[in-house]
Symmetry: C2
Subunit: 352 residues, 2 copies
């Protein structure tokens, strides 16, 4: 591998950086491999195409660009995009009209489901790519009320109110029939002991009490505890992922083989792969970007994923993001995802 000693030693010359940047910008705009002539015109460097060709050869040796075939221009590789995103890109501030729409559509008076769906819709509408939102984790939501309602026979409806607003229902099958009064008493008992705690804490508390007081307590309280345990245990529904605008992906030439689209849409229905990808982002704070193969999932080889976590009360509760072709306008997408995450968090937060 012969590379000029220069590029090897001092990483990348200023000129090379400028050209790479111009190349990425041009390719992202037009979707066509970029030749030395075009680059000479657009980069503003006053160099001849021939000189530019030399630099391009270096960039190619470094694995930052590649040519689809001998007589085509160059296109950025994943590595090239990565370098561009990490150190060449200038993030554009978001269009104020877009910020306005975002604020209008993410207001505290909406319920969680509506907010999540709206965020997903907005992401896809603004970016013209697929938007997705990991629904907020509920295990830190504070229990504000618990009630039991007798249905028929041994069936009881448990109603959990979280954060004073969100309601969850669970139908429980009990070991015997309880009267209205008994259920009322049990609810009172649980409310006294658990209100204000989050679901996890509530469960722990319940388990503790179960052990501690098993003997010197009347059976009704014991039943109440068991009932609470049942009501809290099943945590389903919380690990869901909401998509919007997958159709947009059909409009990008680089994805438009039916084969690729099929795999992508399969991933959207499967959800599993994308869930694990997003769940890895929940720890890292701020915008994260996966370019091409970086995501580690084959389906996404031709795609980039831009994500950002959102938080309520300073605690990260979910992640959102967009999926599009690697050839995307990162400088525009990044702030969109960033702001959307902030606004979604804010809306969720200021609802209490």
């Amino acid at each position: 591998m012969k590379t000029s000693p220069k590029t090897q030693s001092q990483a990348l010359s200023e000129r090379a950086r400028l050209l790479l940047r111009a190349l990425v910008e041009s390719y992202v705009r037009d979707g066509q491999p970029v030749g030395s002539r075009t680059l000479a015109r657009t980069a503003g460097l006053d160099l001849s195409p021939a000189s530019i060709r030399n630099v391009m050869a270096d960039l190619e040796d470094l694995g930052l660009v590649s040519s689809p075939h001998t007589s085509a221009g160059r296109i950025p590789t994943s590595l090239g995009y990565r370098l561009f995103v990490d150190s060449l890109l200038e993030v554009k501030p978001l269009d104020s009209a877009e910020v306005r729409t975002l604020k209008q559509r993410l207001t505290p008076d909406m319920d969680t489901k509506a907010l999540v769906e709206s965020a997903s819709d907005l992401l896809s509408a603004i970016t013209q790519m697929a938007g997705m939102v990991r629904v907020p984790r509920r295990d830190h939501a504070a229990l504000s009320q618990i009630e039991f309602l007798k249905l028929s026979g041994r069936q009881v409806l448990a109603i959990l109110v979280m954060n004073k607003r969100e309601v969850q229902n669970r139908i429980l099958e009990l070991d015997r029939e309880y009267s209205h009064a008994e259920l009322q008493q049990m609810a009172n008992y649980l409310n006294q002991h658990l209100v204000g705690r989050d679901l996890r804490q509530a469960r722990e508390q319940i388990l503790k009490e179960m052990k501690a007081v098993r003997e010197h307590m009347n059976t009704l309280m014991l039943a109440a505890i068991e009932l609470g345990e049942k009501a809290f245990c099943d945590d389903e529904g919380t690990d869901d992922l909401v998509f919007a605008g997958q159709i947009h992906l059909m409009d990008y030439a680089e994805l438009s083989s039916v084969e690729k689209l099929r795999n992508l849409f399969e991933a959207f229905t499967e959800k599993r792969q994308l869930l694990t990808l997003l769940d890895n982002c929940i720890s890292a704070e701020g915008v994260q970007i996966f370019i091409g193969q970086e995501s580690g999932h084959q389906v996404l080889d031709d795609c980039s994923v831009v994500t950002a976590p959102y938080s309520v009360g300073g605690r990260i509760v979910g992640v959102l993001g967009v999926i599009g072709p690697t050839r995307m306008a990162y400088e525009r997408i990044i702030p969109v995802v960033d702001i959307t995450a902030r606004l979604l968090g804010a809306a969720l937060n200021s609802r209490n």
Copy 2:
């Protein structure tokens, strides 16, 4: 247009019918235009290709088949499929293994949402096409219980239990704060007067009472009525449509232009067109089939839709169906849709 006088007068000769049937079957199986030679071999009619060509010319004049170009075989037109479906097709009884799966996956212990999703999944899995289910109308569901739960300040959570099993929540914003006791009283009043009626009847009843007793009634009852009115009014969520297995449509050659797929998937996210189509089927009883343009929606020009309504307690509450290419194995699909509708209805019915 010269057509042999015979075919004109007696509609369609037995021979022509046999050949059309063989042609449709062969085309559905292989997806290739069918030539006279193949037809001579498969139709079991002991005729030479030349004779068959004569019949085919007649069929083409009648608009039942057409050739994509001069030197290709014939393929059925929508009209051809229509004739086939109406009078040539022999419905296959459903594979017993499939019936078993259907029964196992549509059991009365599932809640409405799970049943609907399961039915949709099953339709798509068995047919290898897209399945859809119109969620059951709720306006005939009998109200079994209504409760109010005080949240914070003027916010009240209304809980409606329908059919002893299904739970609906609504958060209401009231004009003033009510005490627990007051809410309890109001709930009692409403329960006394409304339990057993369906939502529509309940609303009517409420409106009647509002007029009748406005004066000689204590204000609390009046408030209760108003509260009930609020709780019943918003009927959202009920006109929804659940899809499954849209991906399968990507596997059919006749739909595999990205353009067509895009339009189809747009219709799936839009839902509106399909909703109107399905809502038209809710009156007709039994399996309905829309072949190609018959649906009246351009997106579905290359598709056929097979639907069947399902009912609970003898009353039709929804419609389900599949979407696939016009070239589908109708004799197999029709019973699948039919049985699935029956089993879904049965499962919903025997839950009480």
